[in-house]
Point group: C2
Chain length 370, copies 2
DNA sequence: TGCACTTTGGCAACAGCGTTGCGAAAGTGG
DNA sequence: CCACTTTCGCAACGCTGTTGCCAAAGTGCA
């Protein structure tokens, strides 16, 4: 449930401005969800709980600001036909950057989440901080057409490894010690002269999926060179107190099991990846499923989405294997309906970059703490 | 932060009434936290982000309604001294009932959370639905003095086992099949003529701890005849989509381990309880710690609280054992500060009953979805 | 003792929010 | 062509928190 927060600090006293922006964001989010098809004022009123008149005022403001526009009218049901409103996607843009170990992907998206432009570069995290900052900055600048410059909200950057989302600082990136404690957000913001937000790749991917329409609460499990998770609870990304949530890979599911790179024994990651290494995909899926089942039971989420290169190499087998474990669990508990559904996450290889862009777009729609 | 919701259904359009109750709840919560010592208007303004004048209006309403009162004044700092306000605890009461396998505890608490009256009965869940409903009703009625009747908010009932918090229905209670699908909330509400709320014992305990001052996000792990958890995220209890969250005990931490009562293998519960049965408390604590570490990593919570009869039998050993596992984990990750703190939960044997009462009191203060 | 100063906190006027009442606009159906 | 239905905006309204102003109640210096 999205919280309403006042402009002031503290535990959330809400003034009229906060109320206005809350309701505006709600309406904008419904407009966005409706897509090109549009949505009528009365429908907006029903779905927000506001009166039609309030919606009229809000949408009038949005049209003045260029964020909304009329989009034809519905068939009449015996009276004046409803005029349909839609979001004007090109009223805002954001850049999303996916910094990975060996490459860099950048996308320019509009308010709708549509990718307007994209580019890839060979600059990986291994190139070092200065080179990556400079490479990223150039790639971002190259991506921006004149038309988008005025409506640019900022740049979102997603990368692996633990980091401080709030302060935009990296803790460390496994395998690249020189990044320890690097203040990526501030450095990049200074270089570009634009607002920058930094987050873990799994969180960005999860945010992208949430905005793209995966409702409720779900977990995005990313199995690539490592194993991590992005958690969405009630429509917004759960990051935890120190923005370190989602440490799914180093969940222990085999006490005193084989040693993991993290120093512990029997982590899901080491079990899963070693099974993949042996070519035993069913066992990898079973192990992943066990971890997912623990997560599902703990948080009572609605959906599990799988992604990452390793999953992409054998998607059906992973979905089936994880689904089998979750189904077994549901059967034991007697919950009807066959358990929590498992799917491959949409978005593919560009999903993280698009999600990173959503770090700046989503707040407009009341996601991501407004 | 608690969300603000309009009176209407739907995804949360907020009107002025919602705004008012939101801010009122915020002020009430600060008054409650301040306790008998009280808090001044200006302090309330600072901590809510509202203007002093708004706070004056809100507190004037609260004083009219009898919920707040003046409580002396501060020393002057060179001008007119601040008048201190406090909550009037006896302006509202709630009953909390803890239904357990072999006994029933009931408490009457005021707005402050102070226990005004308490009682125990021998009616356990095994006595069957009709007997328990009747026994509970009589015990609740016996607990109510004339003075509290007018200010009674309702009755909160906490009991073990999976249930539907929203609808107040039990799914099943392990060992007592006759409870399957029993609509406890509606039956008891009909019998008593009072609002009734039903929740899992672990959630009630966690809510009680959250209201009692445990800030931020924490997990309450209850180790008694079973093993469960109550999760508090950002100050409010996380129940999940089907209000089934907190299935901590059947988290698998030993793939293909010993068979658990739930039908799975290697659950924390079976490992932990069998270690306890062998008298091997250190091993039980280590296993519990492994489960807790998984939880901490996944959600990035601030604190782990332990409770339940088994923990009470050897509190220091459990705290030390769990703390050791969490400390080890923190050291591996290089996080300074020595990891997430572990403590024994306050509240003791009456904690669940008090928490159950908070199911009705907490909404006044903006906890529990307002 | 008296006066200037500081700080608190209530009263009154105000701007802005969603709501209500009402009427114009724009269709349908007989 | 006209009665009817439905949409939707204008105007007045009630309520919110905010701002301007002033009385109240202290402190501290002369």
């Amino acid at each position: 449930m999205a919280g309403i927060r006042g402009a002031a600090a503290g535990p959330g006293g809400a003034n009229l401005l906060a109320l206005r922006s809350h309701n505006t964001a709600l309406v904008l989010d419904l407009l966005r969800t409706a897509g090109a098809e549009g949505i009528s004022r009365l429908e907006l009123a029903e779905r927000t709980g506001l009166t039609p008149q309030a919606v009229s005022k809000i949408t009038a403001r949005l049209r003045e600001e260029g964020l909304a526009a009329a989009a034809g009218r519905r068939a009449s049901t015996g009276g004046k036909p409803r005029t349909v409103l839609r979001l004007v996607p090109e009223a805002g843009h954001a850049v999303g950057v996916h910094l990975d170990r060996d490459e860099l992907r950048a996308v320019l998206v509009d308010l709708d989440g549509t990718v307007v432009a994209e580019s890839r570069g060979a600059v990986g995290l291994g190139a070092g901080a200065d080179a990556v900052v400079e490479g990223t900055a150039r790639q971002v600048e190259a991506l921006l057409p004149e038309t988008a410059r005025g409506s640019l909200l900022g740049v979102g950057v997603a990368l692996p490894g633990p980091l401080d989302h709030t302060r935009g600082m990296l803790h460390r990136v496994t395998g690249f010690p020189e990044w320890d404690g690097f203040p990526l957000r501030d450095v990049l913001a200074g270089r570009l002269g634009l607002p920058v937000v930094v987050d873990k790749d799994t969180n960005a991917a999860a945010l992208g999926l949430a905005v793209a329409g995966e409702g409720g609460s779900f977990a995005y499990l990313h199995l690539g060179t490592g194993l991590g998770a992005g958690l969405v609870i009630g429509g917004s990304v759960h990051r935890g107190a120190r923005t370190g949530a989602g440490e799914f890979g180093h969940q222990v599911i085999q006490l005193d099991g084989p040693v993991c790179g993290c120093g512990n024994r029997g982590c899901v990651e080491v079990l899963c990846l070693s099974a993949v290494g042996r070519g035993d995909v069913p066992e990898a899926a079973r192990v992943l499923g066990a971890g997912a089942a623990n997560l599902v039971g703990l948080l009572d989420i609605d959906l599990v989405l799988l992604g990452g290169r390793t999953v992409a190499s054998a998607p059906e087998e992973f979905v089936a294997g994880v689904g089998a474990v979750l189904g077994e669990r549901a059967r034991r508990e007697g919950a009807g309906g066959g358990g929590v559904p498992v799917r491959v996450a949409s978005g593919g290889e560009w999903g993280v970059a698009v999600g990173a862009a959503q770090l700046l777009v989503a707040p407009l729609f009341g996601r991501e703490d407004g």
